[in-house]
């Protein structure tokens, strides 16, 4: 990753951790003396506040590892695209975390409780659609461990299609009932896992030496 992308992402993580800490401190009198009054929703919000920075930090570390594969050189547009997506996801996660913090601190303000899950699915789905559409167009890597370019291109397109369709289903699910949303997420999770497994399998294959003329 570039220094700027790394710095931006870790700055966002630090801000999110600070927000989680501030919200926890603000709720400390309740947590210390009347924990039951927090109710399950309050505990879920508190968990979410700490989950987001941890999740983004893990994503940054994983991205750094994946942008340095052994034996292959990723194309510059692939690197830029991956870094830009990571920054966008980090910013979106920070915005959702801020919303959850506001919900925890101002529980009487009912307008804040208006379906953050729906907004999350709508924006997350849009990110999936854009990522899947454009990701298929990126140049293949080069190097001795790089997969055969034709295979990279075909797998990229299939993965792109899967992501676009999943994103569209998520965006539609944003307007469904909470139960339907959970069902939608459970339905698309295997598709996401299968797509990711196919991608990893393709990356492990190599083009091999060129065949003699």
């Amino acid at each position: 990753m570039t220094r700027l992308a790394k710095f931006t992402c870790w700055l966002i993580v630090a801000a999110m951790a600070a927000m989680a800490a501030a919200a926890t401190v603000a709720q400390w009198p309740v947590l210390a003396h009347h924990p039951a009054s927090l109710k399950p929703i309050g505990w879920r919000l508190l968990f979410s506040l700490w989950f987001y920075p941890g999740w983004i930090a893990a994503a940054i570390l994983l991205s750094e590892r994946r942008l340095r594969p052994k034996g292959m050189e990723l194309s510059s547009d692939y690197r830029r695209f991956t870094q830009a997506t990571l920054v966008v996801v980090a910013l979106f996660s920070a915005a959702m975390q801020a919303w959850f913090a506001a919900m925890l601190l101002f529980r009487d303000l009912h307008v804040l409780h208006a379906s953050p899950q729906g907004v999350s699915m709508l924006v997350g789905g849009a990110i999936f659609v854009i990522y899947g559409n454009s990701g298929a167009k990126l140049a293949p890597p080069t190097g001795p461990a790089a997969p055969e370019p034709g295979r990279w291109i075909r797998t990229s397109l299939r993965k792109g299609w899967a992501q676009v369709l999943m994103g569209m289903v998520m965006m539609a699910g944003a307007f469904a009932s909470p139960t339907a949303r959970v069902a939608i997420i459970l339905a698309i999770a295997p598709v996401a896992l299968a797509s990711s497994a196919a991608w990893r399998r393709m990356l492990r294959s190599t083009a091999g030496p060129p065949s003699p003329a």
């Binding site: 559409n133 298929a136 293949p140 291109i153 792109g160």
Partner: protein
């Protein structure tokens, strides 16, 4: 986007994209699949490059072309193929024209 529509409107160019889906190919390898002159195909390559549907990598005297399709462009390609959009270029149905003659 209009360049993409223009590129996908021609069946010859769509066939080039389908060939490149298998693997990157040189201009000569692609030309072997068409009964047209290399000059005619070069024009098609230029349109596809301008629409950013293919990328060209020049190595010495040969140029290797690689597919660069987004999902939306792939969908448009499938749509155009399904409905047979675009006239069938005369050179696809006739013999290879003599050099210098107009089609």
């Amino acid at each position: 986007m209009s360049q993409v529509f223009k590129a996908l409107a021609d069946p010859t160019r769509r066939r080039v994209l389908q060939l490149l889906r298998e693997r990157p190919m040189t201009a000569g390898e692609i030309a072997d699949h068409f009964p047209v002159s290399k000059a005619t195909l070069s024009g098609h390559f230029a349109v596809l490059k301008e629409a950013e549907l293919i990328a060209a990598d020049k190595q010495g005297t040969s140029i290797t072309y690689q597919l660069r399709l987004s999902v939306l462009e792939d969908a448009l390609l499938a749509f155009a193929d399904s409905f047979g959009i675009g006239f069938t270029a005369p050179e696809l149905t006739s013999r290879k024209p003599a050099e210098g003659s107009t089609p």
